[in-house]
């Protein structure tokens, strides 16, 4: 699964292995791992993978960036790498150069809105913003009377109500009250909040798929070590079949997420086919996070329920990622509406489009 066939992923995996080892991080209660990890990622140009050279980034392909997020999921990386990548990508859509440092995107939920008033100021209250509290800048998608704009905002100008998601990562409420952006540009034609949500959703899907790969890996390993009733628990058929189901969920998540990433990386526009891919990935990966994570915990028994064990770093984060950029129920409703609207006889042609 961890097939490092590109230099971006290889670089990232080396950094993760050196500076984001889940057991080391788990033992470190002070969070002293965060700064060196972020510094190493930044020096390698990874947070701005999706930003071209002329806008201050490292100009990796969409495909390489997606593969990087899958690798980050395998390490349950808990710094705003995905968020900064998405923010840089969003800014680049408006030809806005990315600043240095941690960023995140507003809004991070399809139901929240930031509005742009006639004076060029931004207002709105958006919830569930990943790493909102630690971000230096926000990449903002705003709705004004002339359509959709993309803006770069100084995080110091926002009011932040800090919160944590179920994975213990920052998930904050951010309020902009007539904030003047550093830069603001109109979004390209056809680009809207749905586009941002689909892109964010596929990013989260890849992270969930990565986390499931690791959960499968450590669950299989644990079952081959743990002895009960005088034999390894991996020899019990009930445990074997549970792990086979976990492999299925992990495989489904990986297939859905990488397929959607491939669709976006090769699409000319966010049409119905891309919508199907991206929405399906978020729905199916979220389902897999629940089912697969549940099995990983069942196999581990009580030890997996402890803070000292690394399992929760993957299982809880995968569950938390379900909520960002539209939950599975949100996307299911939207996808269902799309399918119904196209009509029964157009369902199969849509499914069979790739």
């Amino acid at each position: 699964m961890a097939e490092s066939d590109n230099i971006v992923v290889e670089t990232a995996e080396k950094i993760f292995a050196d500076l984001a080892d889940p057991q080391t991080i788990n033992n470190d209660k002070k969070g002293s791992w965060q700064a060196p990890l972020w510094q190493a990622l930044s020096e390698a140009g990874l947070p701005l993978s999706w930003v071209s050279d002329d806008l201050g980034g490292s100009g990796a392909s969409l495909a390489d960036g997606f593969a990087l997020l899958n690798a980050a999921g395998r390490f349950a990386v808990a710094v705003p790498l995905a968020e900064t990548m998405l923010a840089g990508w969003l800014l680049a859509q408006g030809r806005i150069a990315s600043p240095e440092g941690e960023m995140t995107v507003l809004p991070a939920s399809p139901r929240d809105r930031i509005s742009l008033d006639a004076d060029g100021a931004l207002s709105g209250r958006v919830r569930g913003v990943p790493f909102g509290k630690t971000a230096k800048h926000f990449a903002v998608l705003a709705h004004g009377k002339d359509g959709v704009s993309i803006a770069l905002v100084d995080a110091a100008k926002a009011r932040i109500e800090a919160g944590l998601n179920v994975g213990y990562d920052h998930s904050d409420t951010v309020t902009l009250d007539k904030v003047q952006p550093i830069t603001i540009k109109p979004a390209p034609k056809g680009f809207d909040q749905t586009t941002l949500m689909l892109m964010g959703g596929v990013s989260r899907s890849l992270q969930i798929a990565g986390a499931l790969e690791s959960m499968l890996d450590i669950s299989v390993r644990y079952s081959n070590e743990r002895v009960a009733f005088e034999k390894k628990i991996s020899k019990f058929q009930a445990v074997q079949h549970n792990l086979a189901r976990l492999a299925g969920e992990s495989a489904a998540a990986l297939a859905a997420a990488t397929s959607a990433a491939d669709a976006i990386a090769n699409a000319r526009s966010f049409n119905d086919e891309v919508y199907l891919e991206a929405a399906s990935a978020k729905i199916r990966c979220a389902e897999a996070a629940e089912k697969g994570g549940g099995i990983a915990h069942q196999v581990h028994g009580a030890i997996g329920f402890t803070m000292e064990h690394i399992l929760h770093r993957y299982s809880l984060r995968a569950l938390a990622w379900r909520d960002d950029f539209g939950s599975e129920s949100y996307w299911a409703v939207e996808l269902g509406k799309l399918v119904a609207n196209r009509g029964a006889d157009e369902l199969w042609p849509l499914v069979a489009s790739r």
Binding site: L216, N224, Q237, Q240, G248, A256, L335, G343, W348, V351
Partner: protein, 386 residues
């Protein structure tokens, strides 16, 4: 990493899309001509010999096989497209689909040249039907417990015993079966079974229909009494069938037929809810479509790996496990959602009739061609657990 599972995103090449258009046009013509009704999966007679010949004439049977045997030397991905379009249209494929998917490839690999030259072109023309003789009254999932004997005699073998649950045996021209040529050894309980090509409709073979809970008669008991099989009908190594069985499983297990068997109820539900569904229907349909899409992408991915010459046995087993469980649950989920469909929906009766049949079909889906339990055992072995 413990498990090197791969599901690379495969994009179907342009030639597949052209082919898909041809298949759709062909099926539309067949439907217009009254060959079959796509809304009626519960037809009583599932055998359509003339349709089978017309599919053969299109070059869509044995598509991937060498031209000298009547094949087209096309790719597995092209075959995939034909298979899925046939399945979604509820086309009557019973007569040819086992031969095309499974029996032909076995013959290609293990049959002597004269047999290949005789039989494969006839499969490609859609003229002959195959059955698979695996299960016996006391040997189902435990394939290697098979007892039906093949006893060496002058110029061939005499077969005695019974195969059961044999789909299409009542219409089949041939069967590929495993028979016991030697007892199992202490070291290897899988030893002693040999694969044979059986010509049906011959003395010493009696086919008895078995009624299924759907009301159909698609599987059978096949009783062999001193049935003679000539030496050149042995397929592969004597006593070594166990070595031959596993590599074909990836083909058998990962195709679109492993998640599309009850698909028609989903289409009909979408029709029944209309263009403006309520939130409940929309969410239900959205989830089912996301799950369907994911399985299809997994299945296409396996087809792509097969095309690349790989043997993704574990990945294929995962596709069948997830796919068959899904297609089994699908009629029940659609029933949940259909409960609130307006009385006035024009296709309400069609949907109800289809659900009735799909719900009766559902139990077999996780049994046929390798039970869920067997598949999970194979996946567990792939994970290094056994």
């Amino acid at each position: 990493m413990t498990a090197a599972l791969r599901f690379d995103p495969i994009r179907l090449p342009e030639k597949c899309e052209q082919l898909r258009k041809e298949v759709r046009a062909f099926l539309a013509e067949e439907i217009a001509a009254g060959t079959f009704d796509p809304h009626k999966p519960n037809r009583e007679d599932t055998d359509a010999p003339e349709f089978s010949r017309r599919v053969g004439a299109k070059g869509w049977l044995g598509m991937t096989w060498p031209k000298k045997y009547g094949g087209q030397e096309r790719s597995f991905l092209e075959r995939y497209v034909v298979t899925e379009e046939m399945r979604v249209a509820n086309a009557p494929t019973r007569r040819f689909f086992v031969a095309d998917r499974q029996s032909g490839p076995v013959l290609l690999k293990y049959a002597p040249e004269n047999i290949k030259m005789d039989i494969l072109p006839r499969i490609c023309r859609g003229e002959i039907c195959f059955a698979i003789g695996m299960s016996e009254p006391n040997s189902g999932s435990d394939l290697f417990a098979a007892k039906t004997r093949a006893t060496k005699t002058n110029g061939g073998y005499l077969i005695n015993g019974t195969k059961i649950w044999t789909s299409s045996a009542h219409i089949a021209d041939y069967m590929i079966a495993i028979f016991r040529t030697s007892p199992p050894t202490k070291e290897n309980r899988r030893h002693g079974l040999t694969q044979f090509l059986v010509k049906m409709k011959q003395p010493g073979i009696k086919v008895n229909p078995i009624g299924q809970i759907t009301g159909q008669y698609e599987f059978n008991e096949v009783v062999f009494t001193d049935h003679f099989i000539p030496d050149d009908h042995v397929l592969g190594e004597i006593d070594g069938a166990w070595k031959q069985a596993t590599s074909e499983l990836a083909y058998e297990r990962s195709g679109p037929e492993r998640f599309l068997e009850t698909y028609y109820v989903l289409t009909e539900l979408v029709r029944a809810v209309g263009p403006n569904p309520d939130t409940r229907s929309a969410e239900g349909i959205g989830r089912l479509v996301a799950q369907l899409h994911t399985m299809r992408r997994m299945s296409v991915s396996v087809a792509g790996m097969l095309e690349a010459g790989k043997e993704p046995v574990v990945e294929a087993s995962i596709v069948k496990d997830i796919g068959t469980v899904w297609e089994q649950q699908l009629p029940h989920r659609v029933r949940d959602l259909a409960a609130f469909v307006e009385e006035t929906a024009t296709n309400r009766e069609t949907l109800e009739r289809q659900l009735d049949f799909a719900i009766k079909t559902a139990p077999k889906l996780t049994i046929q061609g390798g039970t869920t339990e067997v598949l999970r055992g194979i996946i567990a072995r792939g994970l290094g657990l056994r």
